[in-house]
Every structure is written in C-alpha cells, then in structure tokens.
C-alpha cells in the first residue's frame, strides 16, 4: 500500500538524518587520518551515557545534554586516540602494517564498551523526556521525538557545513583531506588537523550515539549496534566524503525502513551490509566518490 510506503519513507528520512551525524564523524576522521576508526562505536556509547548523566542526574534538557554528549565523545576520542592509536597511524608509518591503527581501534572499542559496562552495568537506561502523542498529518503518523531528533541532527549538520565551508580551520581540514603533501607545503600542521578531525568526528559520534538512544534506551552495546549502519552510510556515500555520508545515511535509513515491507524487522541492520555490497560492486568509490567535501 502506498500509504504504508510513504509512512516508511518519512520514518526512514528521519532515521537517516540521525544516522548521518555519526556517519559524518566516521568519514571525516577517515578523510584526514586515512584509516577506518572503528572506535566511533565506543564513542557513540560514551556520548550516550554522558548525555544520560547530564539529562537524568543534572536535569539538563535534551539539547544541552546533546552538547554534553558531543563534548564527552570528543574528549574521550582525543584522549584514546592519543594513547592508543596515534603511533600506529598510517601517516606516521606505523610499524604493524597499513591497518594496525584500524585493528587497534577495534580493540579500543572493546575496551571502551567494557569501561562503560564496568561503571553502569548492562541494564538499559532511559532518558528523562516528556512523552508526546504522535501527530497525524493526513494519513501519516509522525513522532514528535523522532522529528525533534531529526531536527537536532540537521542543525548539527548545518553547523558543521558552515564550519567546513567558511572558517579558516574548516578549510585547513579540507586541505589536508584533499592533498596532505600540498597542505604541508602551505604550512598547515598536519598533527593539529588530525587532532581536530578526531575531536570533531568523535564528538559527532557521541552526539549521534545519544540521538539514537533518545527515543529508545541505551546500554553498553548502543554504539556497537549503530556501527554497521554507520559504516554502510559512509561507504555507500563514498568513504571520506562528508556530503556522501549524509546521502549514504539517508539511503541506508530509508532502505532499512522500506525493507520492512519485505523482511522481518530483525533483519533491518542487514540492510546496511547489503547496501555496502551493492554499492561496492557497481561504484567501488561510493555514490559521491572519495572527495572530502
């Protein structure tokens, strides 16, 4: 029925907007540091819990708690990158082969997930938010919380595009992503840009982790569960491309919802994997290619 499909399309676009935030974080780190940093999953969990503490313990509203989630993801991301990954980066000629940093980031993910589990246990936690009744627009049902999440995600993305497009620091980041050798020639400090990309990317992961938990609940595996869709969004759009991550996230978000027409809901996360395989078979560099911006 077309009405159902339309409903799923709307849901998918809202979910895709939320997914786009951590996907941009993942792809931005890749664009500058040239390795897939799987620790985005861990940072999404860190952000979700930091936001939960701010929201339920300190009583902050959702928007302020999201800022706390960004800050926590950013700080934890920078710290853990400095301690665990920096020396292994491909650009620093890491000794364990090209993917040592990527493998270390998988291990880092396990460490972070278990640190969160150590402090807060396995029980799911919910945010303290007012409950709204769904709105009805024509035949569509729209959850105010989902809409608000999508709106906050869109606001974060708009801020990011302004930052990358029209600030000096943003242009520096794009320059390094585009051509590190040329950027170095122009006197851009690659290490500072790498730290900036990590702080920004992991902050977005933390923000996205809390956003995905807002309308359900969070637990130590929250970040891990969004990892596959996040990778899918980044790869489908073109690994390293920020607009690509947005497009990829919308494709994956809508794809996951539309899959409900033909598949049981438990297979939703497999949609991202299928999307990766399809895109890599026909457009190995993703829909928008690998240019950063």
């Amino acid at each position: 029925m077309p009405a159902d499909a339309l409903q799923l399309l709307v849901n998918g676009l809202m979910a895709g907007a939320v997914l786009a935030v951590p996907a941009i974080g993942f792809t931005a780190i890749y664009a500058v540091l040239r390795f897939p940093n799987f620790a985005v999953g861990g940072m999404a969990t860190v952000g979700a819990y930091a936001g939960w503490v701010a929201n339920t313990r300190a009583g902050w509203p959702a928007a302020a708690s999201l800022a706390a989630a960004f800050a926590a993801g950013s700080a934890a991301g920078l710290l853990s990158d400095w301690v665990a990954l920096r020396a292994l980066r491909p650009s620093r000629g890491g000794t364990g082969g090209a993917l040592a940093a990527a493998i270390a980031s998988v291990a880092l993910n396990i460490v972070i997930e278990n640190a969160v589990r150590f402090v807060w246990g396995n029980d799911p936690r919910g945010y303290d938010l007012p409950v709204y009744r769904d709105w009805r627009v024509w035949d569509l049902r729209i959850g105010p919380q989902q809409l608000e999440n999508a709106a906050m995600a869109t606001a974060a993305m708009a801020a990011l595009f302004v930052f990358l497009g029209s600030t000096r620091t943003g242009r520096m980041m794009r320059a390094v992503a585009d051509n590190p050798a040329l950027a170095a020639l122009k006197g851009i400090d690659a290490e500072r840009v790498a730290m900036l990309a990590t702080a920004l990317g992991m902050g977005l992961a933390g923000f996205g982790g809390m956003l995905t938990g807002l309308d359900t609940s969070i637990d130590p595996l929250t970040g891990f569960r969004v990892m596959l869709p996040v990778f899918a969004a980044a790869v489908v759009g073109g690994l390293g491309s920020v607009p690509g991550a947005v497009l990829g996230a919308l494709v994956v978000g809508v794809g996951e919802e539309l899959s409900l027409l033909v598949l049981p809901p438990s297979y939703r996360t497999a949609v991202g994997f299928v999307a990766i395989l399809l895109v890599l078979s026909f457009r190995p560099r993703g829909l928008l290619g690998e240019r950063a911006y």
Partner: protein
C-alpha cells in the same frame, strides 16, 4: 582441576586453528579479515545441524564444517576481491554480524537465540568426563599439528611465495604474470576452511551452539593471538593462541582475588584486558614474538 586444564587445552587448540586460518588470509596474503567469528560460526552450525538433524557421522560433520566455511570464504573473497584493505575490514566485520543476525533469526534452522543443544561428541557417552576431555584435547591438537604442518608446507611452496608477493605489492605480482585474483580467492578459501574446522570442533566439544558464542570479541582474541605470536609464521600463530588463552584464563583467577566487584564488573574487566593487551602488542611488538624471517637475497657481484 585436570578437567578444567584439559578444557583449556581444547580451547587453546581451537584458537590456534583459528589463528592459523587467519595467518593464511592475513599473514601470508595480506588481506584483513575481521569476520573470523562469522566463519567460525558457519563451521559450528554446519557440523551441528548435519549431525543433529541429519545424523551424519561426526567426522563428516567436521569435513562439512570446513567445506561450508571455505565455500562462504570463496564468495566473500570474490565479492571483496577488488577492494582496498580498509573496505575489506569493514565488509568482513559486517559479514560476521550478518552471520550472527541470521543465526539469531532463522529459528526454523538454527533454533534462534536458544541455539542447538545435544550435539554429539565422539565417545562422550562411553567415556568419563576426564577421559573425554583428554581424548578431545588430543584430537584438537592433532588437528592443530596437521593443519600447521600442511600450511607451513604451503607457505614454503611457490603458492606461499606468490601470496607473500601479493601481500607486498599486488601490482608487481600481477605484472610478474600471477593471476592474483585466483591466488587471493584460494588463500581466503583455505583460511576460511580452517576457521570452519575450528568451529566444527568447537560445536561437538561444547555440545551446544548459540549466536552469543560468536561475538566480535572472538575475532579480537584471534587477531591478538596471531599478532602476539607473529604474523606470517605458523609457529607464531600457535604460540600466540596458547598465550591468549593463558591470559584469558589468568585474568579469571586474577578476578577472583579482587574483592568487592560484581560479576558484570569482573567480566568487563577481563574483556577490557584483552583489548588493552592487543593495543599494547601492536605498539610494543607489532611483529610478534616469532616474527616472519625474511630472506634477503644479495645480488651477485
């Protein structure tokens, strides 16, 4: 206590097999495979289903486990053949999650999250628990020795040389006239087959398989084993696996001494320790305890 030690010997052997499988794919051919848990699961379910539902003999189940995982390995290798390492890491990691998703949801086939129980073991009914564990530990280590010897020959043979050439520079290997795709697919199939065999052996020892056993943490254990032991050398893979199981079990006893923590906290500490260990090894000894020996040829004067 003896029973426990023998069970640990079995698990060390299973990890050794998995590390050997990864060594062909990653150590020799240089292809990152973060989907180890997936291939292990395919083998475990294949053997469990064939022996429980269709009453195949257990050795036939093991053979089927290796073949099923190898077949899936061929498919994964063909799909990912043209991808760079970072994409391969993402796709294989996703693959293992999809395997777990299928195992959790196709209840008619896999029993869903309840898993499959009552998987037969060779002579389990006739033997005491201790004798059974002894028999199984012997069996697993015979498999480890056989696989390690076979792979060491393969690695020294021209086949192994081509794989190492592909690992170092695929374009050069192709220019030298090697059909690199064929070699990469073969390496993936062999490695995945060994991972599947480990899965089959696991299923019949444990008598029970469920999706929970195939978490990504398994992949981390195996990558840690191979990295710590030394990629490229078969002896390194085996040594690393023994060390990883010793660490995993050592932290269990360490956890007993720490008072005042909940079981969840202790489990979190132990799993976290494995992650920390892998990060440390990558920094301190990236080539492992038994690094691959590279022969340098001097040009004749």
């Amino acid at each position: 206590m003896e029973n426990y030690l023998l069970a640990m010997a079995v698990f060390a052997g299973l990890y050794a097999l998995m590390a050997l499988g990864l060594n062909v794919i990653w150590g020799l051919a240089g292809m990152v495979n973060l989907g180890l848990a997936g291939f292990f699961a395919v083998g475990a379910y294949a053997s469990a289903l064939l022996t429980v539902r269709l009453h195949w003999p257990i050795p036939a189940g093991w053979a089927a486990a290796a073949l099923a995982a190898a077949a899936i390995g061929v498919v994964v290798a063909l799909v990912t053949a043209r991808l760079r390492g970072d994409y391969l890491a993402i796709v294989t990691l996703g693959f293992s999650e999809v395997v777990r998703l299928v195992a959790s949801n196709e209840i008619w086939l896999t029993g869903g999250t309840d898993g499959i129980s009552g998987i037969p073991g060779p002579g389990r009914a006739a033997l005491s628990a201790l004798d059974y564990n002894l028999l199984y530990a012997g069996l697993v280590w015979v498999a480890v020795a056989a696989v390690a010897a076979a792979l060491a020959r393969l690695s020294a043979a021209p086949f192994g040389r081509v794989l190492r050439a592909i690992r170092e520079d695929e374009v050069v290997a192709a220019v030298a006239g090697k059909r690199t795709l064929v070699f990469k697919v073969q390496a993936f199939a062999v490695g995945a087959g060994v991972l599947g065999l480990a899965g089959g052996l696991y299923a019949h020892f444990n008598a029970y398989v469920a999706p929970d056993a195939f978490q990504p943490l398994v992949t981390i254990y195996v990558v840690l084993a191979l990295t710590a032991g030394g990629t490229g050398r078969m002896a390194g893979a085996v040594l690393g696996a023994v060390l990883v199981v010793a660490l995993q079990e050592g932290t269990r006893f360490g956890a007993d001494v720490l008072p005042g923590f909940t079981p969840v906290q202790l489990a979190a500490l132990r799993a976290g320790a494995i992650g920390v260990a892998l990060i440390l090894v990558l920094h301190i000894r990236p080539n492992g305890l038994l690094p691959e020996q590279v022969r340098h040829h001097r040009r004749a004067p």
